[in-house]
Symmetry: C2
Subunit: 437 residues, 2 copies
């Protein structure tokens, strides 16, 4: 370890490793795409680094992981708010989505990648149309991503027949196999838009390739009623009944759960993506996250898309996650700052099956690292790192970001994207949408 | 109107006036401490301005008004989170507050002023100890403020006898009378820490000087039980019974209300300060704000202090206010973006009795104006100004701030405070607190 590519010095290292180790005046050494070593600064006195980054007494920590979003929906941010779900979907979102194509989806995803990098996210899980465009955008931005083409029981703007969705997915899996940044998942939309045949087939495909199976489920009480009318079961029990519950399943939202559902999720080691701001804005409800965690379910945090949030800032999402469950349970001790920080880092990585690669700063893992500038009025004074990261910081406090060993942002300058062009392109997409309304 | 001190051009003017007028490519002319004129840019073609500020196609709007905070508690930010209320108060907050003095309170308030200016707040209402220090800090920062010494039925660190609290308040009223920025209020802490005698006297003092009467009330269900045990009434009914309800009263929190309480508040034209993030973090509950507004009660938004939030960013508070009531009522149409924006501007001004002076951009009002830089990834594209301000913007997007005609921040540089010194001073206060624990 005498020669490394990159050495980050002069920061408090918040590792989020299994010991929750925090190293004052620490350093992180990176070579290629990997973390080589972590320790107090002295340990690296003989180290020759091709590049040194000074954390300026800030916080060096794992990049945040967004377990559920629809990146390209940045194109529709602010198009439709404060509406009933069906008005929102039928009068605004579906008509706008019908006009999408590969290029527009890529444009929207590039903007989301820029925002995510600028707010400290280094990895995201996406579900949308033309998902190869999202994979290409993430690769161009240098972001780690789990992508999956949304599958429904009806044609999508990106394919004509249901069967083609599976072909698309399998081609995507093959295309990106072995890629250092992109993982492909199988992503049926939900139990209410996908019949049992589709879900069973999706589950089988996920197991065949050992890739995540990602679905929206139990998002609203209305969904629970619909599924109960159709199948005589809760959505989770329905998925259990057709053999789709598995450790590969990431169940997004999980707002409307029974105690029995929670037991089922735990017994099958199903992972949950918690999206509190979206669930609040759409008036879906509040997921029983403290109960899920008590039952041993792995819960990762996510923002959902920009039409139901309307940002992808995981720091702000952490703040909301920490607060909403306190008021919901009337217990101020639930969802403490450390727990929430885990939900946005190592537990999020585990939810996506990526915990061997990322989610904590550990030698041998991929170098997905962010540096927080704590020399700011709203982060002064400093009693407790974890508290500041959850309750006081925002994505804007992230100074530098490294993904897979590549510096993608330094001193808040994006290095992988031409942000002015990306913004201009999205504005053009929005102009077309405005004209067509 | 041919010569003005300051002309702001090239922005969309969101006036928040009674017509909710929005002026594309508008301008705002300021002379002395007042707004002189507002209109489309062309109207000002002959105008000679001593200084011109280019809003660069951003948003020109009234500064935000924080109706309830404890500014100096910035000194304790992150000292104690995720705790039960009584542990938090008795083991952390009260011991830390016992060590405060005038200088420390001023130091903490200066930091809060810096943060507030940096996040677009131009006016705040404060309750704390050594409140003259907060007034001095606000005046130094160039901020508009409503300040009031907290009154209890026991000695405070800033005065020995209960009676002295009233003397302190009256002296404060006299000292700042006629000041262009500072208004003094009478501020009994709460019905559970102030007996009827104190409350009646406080009410009389508020009426004598026609200044706001500000109190914490109905913050928790525990308080409701306590007051019911003592007086056989809800806290609001108790205040009514002793004649303290009046249009001058600003009732902070109002989480635990009955329908009858809401009627009472409406019939006496009592104003309410809504502090959703604090109520969530302390697990107090969710104030019935949509019901209060339906009953015609004026509700202003506030952040509460930095130990229960832990920031004073009113943009983030707006986002939370918009979302929490949707999920609480399971109705996504309540608390739409415009309504929430009013709660942080004109309605907040009305809650503090300052609506003739500030809270909207109207010729003749004081010039309390902020400029939002919308040329940012997370504010792209632009379909709806109000949506972006509430759901996507954060305080960090505020580029420039003018209070009482004075430019206090320009291009994010604070012009009235030496922020490095303020931060160093607060860090020193925190070091003392750490040592004494």
């Amino acid at each position: 370890m005498n020669e490394v590519d990159l050495l980050i010095i002069n920061g408090v290292v918040v590792t989020m490793d299994s010991d929750e180790a925090v190293i004052a005046n620490g350093a992180v050494a990176i070579s290629g795409d990997r973390i080589i070593d972590i320790g107090p600064k002295e340990k690296f006195s003989d180290c020759q680094a091709a590049k040194v980054i000074d954390a300026k007494n800030g916080i060096i920590m794992p990049g945040l992981i967004n377990t559920h979003t629809h990146a390209s929906m940045t194109c529709f941010r602010g198009l439709a708010d404060d509406l009933h779900l069906m008005t929102w979907l039928n009068d605004y979102i579906f008509p706008a989505e019908a006009k999408l194509n590969y290029e527009k989806v890529k444009t929207g995803a590039l903007l989301a990648c820029a925002e995510m990098i600028l707010s400290g996210t280094t990895c995201f899980a996406d579900m949308y149309l033309f998902e190869d465009a999202v994979a290409e955008a993430a690769a161009q931005a240098g972001m780690r991503a789990v992508v999956g083409e949304v599958l429904y029981d009806f044609p999508s703007p990106s394919y004509g027949l249901i069967e083609e969705g599976f072909v698309y997915t399998e081609n995507l899996i093959k295309k990106w196999k072995g890629d250092s940044l992109i993982t492909v998942a199988v992503e049926p939309h939900s139990p209410y838009l996908c019949g049992p045949d589709l879900l069973i087939k999706a589950g089988a495909l996920s197991k065949k390739y050992e890739v995540p199976l990602i679905i929206h489920v139990a998002e609203t009480q209305t969904e629970v009623h619909t599924i109960f009318e159709r199948y005589g079961k809760t959505p989770i029990a329905h998925l259990g009944g057709i053999g789709v519950l598995s450790p590969l399943l990431l169940a997004c939202h999980c707002v409307a759960l029974t105690d029995k559902d929670i037991e089922l999720l735990a017994s099958f080691d199903v992972k949950v993506s918690h999206n509190p701001e979206s669930n609040m804005k759409l008036a879906s409800g509040i997921a029983p996250v403290p109960q899920l965690m008590d039952a041993g379910v792995c819960v990762g945090l996510g923002t959902d898309g920009c039409t139901s949030n309307n940002d992808v800032d995981m720091f702000l999402e952490m703040d909301t996650a920490a607060k909403i469950h306190k008021v919901n349970t009337l217990d101020p001790t639930v969802m403490d700052a450390k727990t929430v920080l885990k939900m946005a880092t190592i537990d999020a990585a585990r939810a996506l099956g990526l915990d061997k690669l990322t989610g904590s700063l550990v030698p041998g893992k991929k170098a997905d690292v962010i540096i927080i500038d704590t020399n700011k009025p709203h982060l002064t004074p400093m009693y407790n790192l974890h508290s500041h990261l959850v309750y006081a910081a925002s994505g804007n406090d992230v100074d530098t970001s490294i993904i897979n060993g590549q510096v993608v942002m330094e001193n808040r300058a994006l290095l992988t994207l031409d942000i002015a062009k990306v913004m201009a392109d999205v504005n053009q997409v929005a102009d077309e949408i405005k004209l067509s309304r």
